[in-house]
Symmetry: C2
Subunit: 300 residues, 2 copies
Amino acid sequence: MKCKICRDRAVISLPQHNLALCEEHFLARHARIVLDTVKKFRMFGPDDRVAVAVSGGKDSLGLLQILVAEGVSAFGVFIDLGLGEFQAMVNRAVEGFAIRFNAEVVRYSLAEHHGRSLPELVAGRKGQMPCSFCGTLKRYLMNRVALENGATVLATGHNLNDETAVLLANALRWDTPYLARQNIVLASTHPKLLRKVKPLAFLTEKETGAYALLRGIGFVRESCPYSQGARSLWFKRVMAEMEAHSPGTKLRFYKQFLRFRAEHLAREAEAAMRECESCGFPTTNPVCAFCRIVGEGQRP
Amino acid sequence: MKCKICRDRAVISLPQHNLALCEEHFLARHARIVLDTVKKFRMFGPDDRVAVAVSGGKDSLGLLQILVAEGVSAFGVFIDLGLGEFQAMVNRAVEGFAIRFNAEVVRYSLAEHHGRSLPELVAGRKGQMPCSFCGTLKRYLMNRVALENGATVLATGHNLNDETAVLLANALRWDTPYLARQNIVLASTHPKLLRKVKPLAFLTEKETGAYALLRGIGFVRESCPYSQGARSLWFKRVMAEMEAHSPGTKLRFYKQFLRFRAEHLAREAEAAMRECESCGFPTTNPVCAFCRIVGEGQRP
């Protein structure tokens, strides 16, 4: 297998693009796609300060590395939920990355700021799984910590596999509100809610994984020990099967959806935002989900 | 496995409904679902004369049997494309059905009325497959023959497997015109175009197959020797896999689509209909696809 550009030994083949590339040309192409996506969807410009929601995995660290290397004013936001041994491993990976790639990463500890780690929060509630809180906590904290550190936009590492798995699940239910809310750029609907952007949305896990490996990023390969993820993994498997049968399915599914959404679903009414009575951050309820979970909105 | 209603021996299990039924209760339920679907979607009423597009398979013959048994003014329309041995087998099955169930079936032969069978039509065109013409020919003739025999509505035997396979293919491309055109009732957009209805759309192949077998309908199990069908079979397989993983997926996918379509796609502009210069039947072109294929619109 030879690089389509220079005929050197290829390190990756991308059947959906009928393409094989050597390390140099793959790395260059990968960064270029990220930056083209940023530009095409006007995700951010030279005046923006970009927070990257960092998990310690290949996607978010790879994204932060690309933005930093490109001279974008970008920093990582990293939420420490206190998930025991796994957390320690993630923390080491993120710290190592920050030093190696000269990247600013803001670490925010749930336990230090709100008294209890995620496992401690969950322990007090019968029949609740950590995962059901994790998403809510991280979404809230990523936005808040990014904002409080001067970010004007929040970038996440969602890749094409993530996006199409969610899209398939939503499409199978033809769930209008969920479909309307899925987008490569989520506009800010409140001054305290950052615009969210997904610069990796056109790149597969295979591509983001290869990029991080080839760049020497020491990312965490293990999944969270609490992770259920079965449902999303199942949809990823179905998408992978369709992709194998017909390369390009995922990319077409997602790109065509963005067009369809803009045409037919963009006008779906957004829920009216108010400010949480406890923390002042945007919510659709009197007290936001974060404050309800950490118990900060329940004081009389 | 026992019948959920009478505790007799069950002959079929329907995991998507968490249901097992004996022969008697399965047959009764099956016919009731068909008639409920007809009623709910106002497919036809007592003043209608219903043509059923008959292929010789389990779905269309089962549907015609139910309507005839229910006293609906229904008849079969059956297109003989002249497909050799396979056609002879289909013709025998349809004739046998008509006698056994006292059903009126109008047979229309392509060769007798238009000079050439489908294989003969295809033989004159290099690189063309019979399948690419078959759909066009049958759609045209079913409508025309039904109309000329006094039908006010045309019912087809599309089942849930057929509908969801097409829907998945269309959804993966987010193909608005195709999605907008897929419905359980296709309204007439021209006086010479019958309303099309799909009374079996909520029933799986397993159900329509079991119904036909238990009713003693001698349907054709073989597929057409020309049938490519690989693409639609592939989508059926993917849907079957998702259904096995999560029973009820197909039914939810289709039912929710109908709601979504009504809400977001119903207003998609229909192509303007005109009358074919050759046959006078509705088309979007000066000469309709049928006349172009059989060569009746090409005379100077």
